[in-house]
């Protein structure tokens, strides 16, 4: 244990306060009795009850989850394919340009991505709705998935695939039965990343959504413009809780896996 230092303690407090104080205030006021956001009038959970009655929010939440699920799934399939081809194809003319083009949307301002997609959908005469948001989210989430999967594939031992071919697999069978199971953790984390990116996207969704397909971030944003209500605080608190549970579960699982792996290795040495 290192010695307690006032400087460290202060720095730590300020650092965490900076990160979490706003959220803490939001959580506290979600349990406020009063309709006024900044005046405390006693503890109550009534806003959570009212939230469940609010069909607009529930509809928007459902749309958001649908969009996030489909777009992250499509993005994972396309992003994994792109990563696989970029890593495996070997050097060819224009490879640098090609891989640059896959990653460009990462740094493209969202407003531009959103606007260009909007113009594109109008040009091809596609009505805006859930489908257009899914397409738009797939486009920008795909490159994130591709980055995650590429970094795993680069360290992937190529001879595993060759061994599969050697033992009678067709190239597709080798990918399905050897490569995919081994890179699965990267594919799953790519999917989760795409899912969360889609969940909280406001800019691109507002360009590509239609009247019947409002996502939760759009709904919250437009509601806040009419004034912050404790209902929104309650909704946000639920979202914070979900994210926290997700992060903690993920880290517990990964810790359990690494402990098991270490135990296995020790057992292997002793046998």
């Amino acid at each position: 244990m290192r010695k307690f230092s006032w400087f460290n303690a202060t720095a730590l407090t300020f650092g965490f306060a900076f990160l979490y104080l706003p959220m803490l205030i939001l959580i506290i006021y979600s349990f406020n009795e009063s309709r006024l956001v900044t005046v405390w009038a006693g503890f109550s959970t009534k806003w959570y009850g009212e939230l469940l009655q609010n069909e607009q929010f529930l509809d928007a939440a459902w749309v958001t989850i649908k969009v996030a699920f489909w777009s992250s799934t499509c993005a994972t399939i396309l992003g994994t394919m792109a990563a696989y081809i970029m890593v495996r194809s070997g050097p060819f003319r224009g490879r640098g340009l090609f891989s640059g083009m896959i990653y460009a949307p990462l740094v493209m301002p969202e407003v531009i991505t959103g606007l260009s997609l909007l113009l594109f959908f109008i040009a091809i005469g596609l009505d805006r709705g859930v489908v257009t948001i899914v397409l738009a989210h797939t486009t920008f989430a795909m490159c994130f998935v591709s980055v995650v999967v590429t970094s795993r594939l680069v360290s992937f031992d190529r001879s595993l695939e060759e061994a599969a071919l050697d033992l009678g697999c067709t190239p597709f069978d080798a990918f399905r039965s050897v490569t995919l199971p081994i890179i699965m953790p990267a594919v799953v984390s790519g999917w989760l990343l795409a899912f969360t990116l889609s969940l909280d996207d406001l800019v691109i969704a507002s360009f590509t959504s239609g009247p019947s397909s409002t996502t939760l971030p759009i709904r919250i944003f437009s509601a806040v413009r009419l004034g912050v209500t404790p209902e929104i605080n309650a909704l946000s608190t639920i979202m914070i809780a979900l994210v926290t549970i997700g992060v903690i579960t993920a880290s517990l699982i990964s810790r359990a896996t690494s402990i098991k792996a270490r135990a296995d290795e020790r057992a292997a040495e002793q046998s």
């Binding site: 031992d157 001879s159 061994a163 050697d166 009678g168 067709t170 040495e269």
Partner: protein, 382 residues
């Protein structure tokens, strides 16, 4: 060294009618500007344990990968059982490979790793179990069947890789530096296991290695490679005792190389006698050669250190040289003496330490005699 069995000598390469299993015909492989394999022709026979030996970058791995189907020749053809295997993809070749990194599938158990290839063959499902059990027994892995590759030791992984590649009973098994990741003791044990398994299964093995001792131990024939070409293809004893070039002599084991010119044969000498003048003042070296080079040609005389005797008194021998001990390398069972016989010429002589160190009478700066018979060395023209 692999010992030829006295009753039935296995040497199909000496029989003119024997049909080779693998034939490389003028095979060239280029990667861009780099020529990895240069117009190579080679025959390998069924049931051979054939070693490809050479320093890294000599093309031995490329040669093996062409047999596996992971590289295609730029020019020339490779025949397996008389069939051109150039256009056949790896999954349709009756060839299996054991990879240097073992390439075990980490998400599958030992059992499933071994069954992997069988499940993709036309073997009926009910026979797969029996075959896997047989392989587990052959490689003594029975009690590890349910473990994953990261739950077993390096030596066990090596055996899983071997079992997996043998499971489909391939016509030809390729082994890429199979023992490279094992420590020396385990490697020596495993070499003998490999030889046993090769004999039991009767499979043709082609092994790639940079370890000459390993190649000498396991192989029926060794191909020494350099810069995409074959330097010599012969049995281990021929490679060691009768290298065909200074490259091979120098690559395999320790050797003394002495350059000189061939003298005109003396009257009464046998036609195989060769006398080599290596210094203007010293006595020439007497040697023999089945194909004596013409007089005045430049040759290299190669002799292994263990064939050079060292003594304090002048012995009676065909070749005797005087010198001074510069260095002694003590290796326990043997000692190597570095003896300067002429300015700048150091000859290594090896002696078995059959006496305790305190009882030996050779030490630094001693004046000694080196001697060897006229048939102990070889005369090399390349």
């Amino acid at each position: 060294m692999a010992q030829p069995r006295p009753d039935t000598v296995f040497a199909p390469w000496d029989e003119p009618d024997a049909k080779p299993l693998i034939q490389f015909k003028n095979v060239t492989k280029r990667f861009g500007d780099f020529t990895a394999i240069d117009d190579l022709t080679l025959d390998i026979y069924a049931q051979e344990f054939f070693a490809l030996l050479g320093p890294s970058g000599c093309g031995k791995t490329t040669l093996m990968r062409m047999l596996g189907g992971f590289e295609t020749p730029t020019e020339g053809t490779i025949l397996l059982d008389g069939v051109d295997i150039g256009p056949i993809p790896p999954n349709e070749r009756p060839v299996n490979m054991m990879f240097q990194s073992y390439a075990l599938f980490p998400h599958l158990t030992v059992w499933d790793n071994i069954a992997f290839g069988l499940k993709r063959s036309d073997m009926p499902k009910d026979q797969i179990g029996d075959r896997v059990e047989k392989m587990l027994k052959l490689t003594q892995l029975g009690k590890f069947a349910k473990r994953k590759p990261h739950q077993i030791s390096g030596g066990q992984r090596q055996r899983v890789a071997l079992a997996r590649s043998l499971a489909k009973a391939p016509k030809l098994l390729l082994l890429d530096e199979p023992l490279g990741a094992l420590d020396k003791k385990l490697r020596n044990e495993t070499q003998f296991e490999l030889m046993d398994i090769q004999e039991t299964t009767g499979t043709t093995f082609v092994i790639v290695t940079h370890d000459q001792e390993e190649a000498m131990t396991v192989a029926s024939r060794v191909a020494v490679m350099t810069e995409g070409k074959l330097a010599q293809v012969a049995t281990p004893d021929q490679i060691y005792e009768a290298p065909n070039s200074t490259y091979v002599a120098d690559f395999i084991g320790d050797v003394n190389l002495i350059e000189g010119t061939v003298e005109v044969q003396a009257k009464g000498a046998k036609p195989t006698d060769v006398s080599i003048k290596w210094s203007p003042t010293e006595t020439p070296i007497d040697a023999t050669s089945d194909t004596p080079p013409p007089a005045a040609s430049t040759v290299t005389f190669a002799i292994r250190p263990e064939k050079v005797a060292i003594s304090n008194e002048r012995p009676e021998a065909a070749n005797v040289m005087e010198g001074k001990i510069l260095d002694i390398a003590y290796l326990g069972n043997i000692s190597t003496y570095h003896v300067e016989v002429a300015p700048g010429l150091i000859i290594k002589a090896q002696a078995t330490n059959n006496r305790r160190i305190s009882r030996r009478n050779l030490t630094w700066e001693d004046h000694v005699y080196l001697s060897w018979t006229d048939t102990a060395g070889v005369v090399l023209t390349e």
